[in-house]
């Protein structure tokens, strides 16, 4: 279709969908209303499970099967990206040139790296207690490691980040989550049940399997995002077309 026709088809669809959606919005309970039955039940259950952070309790205890699906989507997307960005024949890998870095930036990177890593581990470990958890902590860890890329250069980052190890870490995180679920079945309860004693409220060991699953997801998200960024950095910095295989055939 030509551009104007495509725009017309879009406009017709958009006007009708906007009308339908706006009409539905006026039937929604008003913003800030008090009718949250599922939320109230979830909060009561979270407190019963000695998990201070109700969101983590919903994510890793009450609806843990959902989070199994979500983290498997992350695992599949990372695996898909690794498969898609693989080096094909007709491409060669050149080693990156050392980049000049201002001293102040280098010092900033070197000092901030351990701090950022500790913050990341803190966010993962305190998932059941304070806002945060495996997903957010994993992202903080993954981006923290790339401070080294800013502070030094790609060669330094590659030396301390063997991609193969992180791919295995990604898979181990996924497997740990599933094995925790299967362990609950072996212990006689249902799949992904919270069979571990819940510990005392508001302490690091509270919440039973919530803490375990948090760590598994944190490991998987951190390794997954590192592998993802590694593949993109490889494509952007290292992999080039060899002369004879130019772009489109």
């Amino acid at each position: 279709m030509s551009r104007p026709v495509r725009l017309w088809v879009f406009l017709v669809g958009a006007v009708l969908v906007a009308a339908l959606y706006a009409w539905a919005c006026f039937d929604l309970p008003s913003f800030g209303g008090d009718h949250h039955p599922y939320g109230d039940r979830a909060v009561r259950t979270a407190l019963a499970q000695h998990t201070a952070n109700a969101v983590s309790s919903v994510n890793f205890d009450q609806r843990a099967f959902d989070t199994l699906g979500e983290q498997t989507i992350l695992f599949a997307a990372v695996l898909g990206t690794v498969v898609l960005l693989r080096q094909v024949r007709g491409e060669r890998r050149t080693d990156p040139t050392p980049a000049p870095v201002a001293d102040r930036v280098r010092w900033f990177g070197v000092l901030m790296l351990p701090v950022a890593l500790v913050v990341g581990f803190y966010v993962v470990a305190h998932g059941p207690l304070s806002p945060g958890g495996g997903f957010q902590g994993g992202i903080v860890l993954a981006t923290a490691l790339h401070l080294l890329y800013i502070a030094a250069d790609y060669r330094a980052l590659e030396r301390i980040r063997p991609v193969g190890l992180y791919e295995v870490g990604d898979a181990v995180g996924e497997a740990a989550y599933v094995v925790t679920g299967l362990a609950a079945v072996l212990a006689g309860s249902a799949f992904l049940a919270n069979v571990v004693p819940h510990g005392t409220f508001n302490t690091l060991s509270s919440g039973g399997t919530v803490a375990v699953l948090n760590i598994a997801v944190g490991m998987e998200v951190a390794c997954g995002i590192i592998v993802l960024l590694a593949r993109f950095l490889d494509q952007a910095v290292e992999i080039e077309e060899t002369a004879e295989e130019t772009g489109a055939r």
Partner: protein
Amino acid sequence: MAAGELLPLVVAVPLLGSAVLVAAGRRLTRIAADALGAAFAAGTVALCVFALIGVLEGPAVAWAGGWRPKDGLGVGIALVGDPLGVGLAALASVVTVAAFVYSWRYLEEPPPRHAGGFPALLLLFQAGMCGFTLTGDLFNAFVFFELMSVVAYALTGYRVEEPRPLQGALAFGIVNSLGGYCMLLGIALLYARTGELGMAQIGRALGTGEPDALVLAAFVLVMTGLLIKAAAVPFHFWLPDAHAVAPTPVCMVLSGVMVELGVYGAARVYWTVFAGPGGVSHSSCTRTLLVIGVATAVLGAAMCWQQRHLKRLLAFSTIGHVGLFLIGVAVLTPEGVSGTALYVLGHAGAKAALFACVGILLARYGSVDEYELYGRGRELRLVGVLFGVGALALAGVPPFGTGLGKAVAEEAAGQQAPWLPAVFVLVSAVTGGAVLRAGLRVFGGAGPRPPAEKADGEPETSGAEEEPETGDRLGRVPGTMLAVPVALLAGALAVGVLPGFAAAVGAAGDHFADHTGYLGTVLGSGSALSHVSASPHWTAAGVVLDLVSTALAIGCAALAVWRPGRTGHPGASGWWTPIRRMQSGHIGDYVAWALAGVALLAVLTVPGMLL
């Protein structure tokens, strides 16, 4: 081990398998990785069969994490082992195992460190499909919908050295992601209104009160996501692009099962969530799905007849059959559901076998173009026979499962509107005829040689000089690539002739199309089956209609091959070109049509419900 406890394991085992494959994939040789993947997939098939035997008497419910509801109110996720759901999970697993065995010698040698990549993606695909069929929670269904989609994008674009797979995969990715977001918006609206996420709980909450704009918007948005996955018109544009370029084992799974899960999802969501008094009335839903279904069937069959690229031809025939499935579901009767289920089972076997045969042609001659392959398939005698039998099965020849399913679905649709069986006969005849025509030309070398070069100015995708997916062209066709189509066609035949099979599917249809029964099973107030229908069986009228459609298919194929002037390709009729030009391969077009489709769904559903 009760059937209920098996349900989460059906999803967990393939996930564990894919994690093991990725972790060990770096050191495994390709054969070891494929063997491990096939073992995990076969293990899941065994689990599915055990669960199926367990649920045949009545649906089993498993609450993930042990979160059983107390007096009807709960926080956990329900996995519902409905006979139809577990049956579809078993079908998905069987077709995945067939894809594993087929890709044993089929795919190019993967790079040394990524031997585990492709099998792990196939296992994740299987886990996503099994999870989608078994879940009883709407948000969980969205999660597995996304998992299936993400893995399908990566698998479709697997051959990154070729320009076409990347364009097909990106179009597939953007349109299906948009469908997923529409579905999530619909789920958010339902959660705001009912405060529940489980399908049974939402259905119960919608049972009271009057249907209003919010229920309509939620129905339209959730159905959009599911119909995009089912490739119904006007959301179908991504399917031919994705199927023409995906590796053949992936095409077998995509066309055989994943698209049909979209139809299953639409039926499941309507029967459990919106079938109550407060939801969408039967007449509105029937009108919507009927119009969409007939349009999909007719367009799919017509476009299928125009194609010369064998994989696109099979892709459009899948769209045609999805239209027939939607009509079978649209009549909203247990007979319609069980007929469609039989038709889906038969179609999965036949379509996957046809894709396997096309894969052999691609591997052997490096082309999937009907004109270029003219007469070159004569030496592959068995493949030719399989291709012909598959074409006849698509046309619904008795005693194949497709024939039985078509007969039962036709009869159920006939009660809704007398002209519907004619649509069934015509569409299956045209699609079967197109495949038969291609088979006659490729394997039989029948009729005058068609011109090899593409008619210029004609919007057409020719399948000539494709890179064979096996790296270099295969000298001898390996045994595994022949055994798979034979087994799949035998499966399609078994669906039609096994004595107790049709009765079991009939009982499954009764359980499926029972709104109050489903609510009772999941929420604890169990209730007996409200309506037991006659189990589907071969009827005289059904057999006659099947033979008519088969005869029509053979007639069309013969006419096209031996008298190309009138209906064959050269000089294709001019009035059809604008329709073909709509399949433009441009992502902006597909997204615009998707949004227009949402508006169409709303316009079709609103009369009789609100205005």
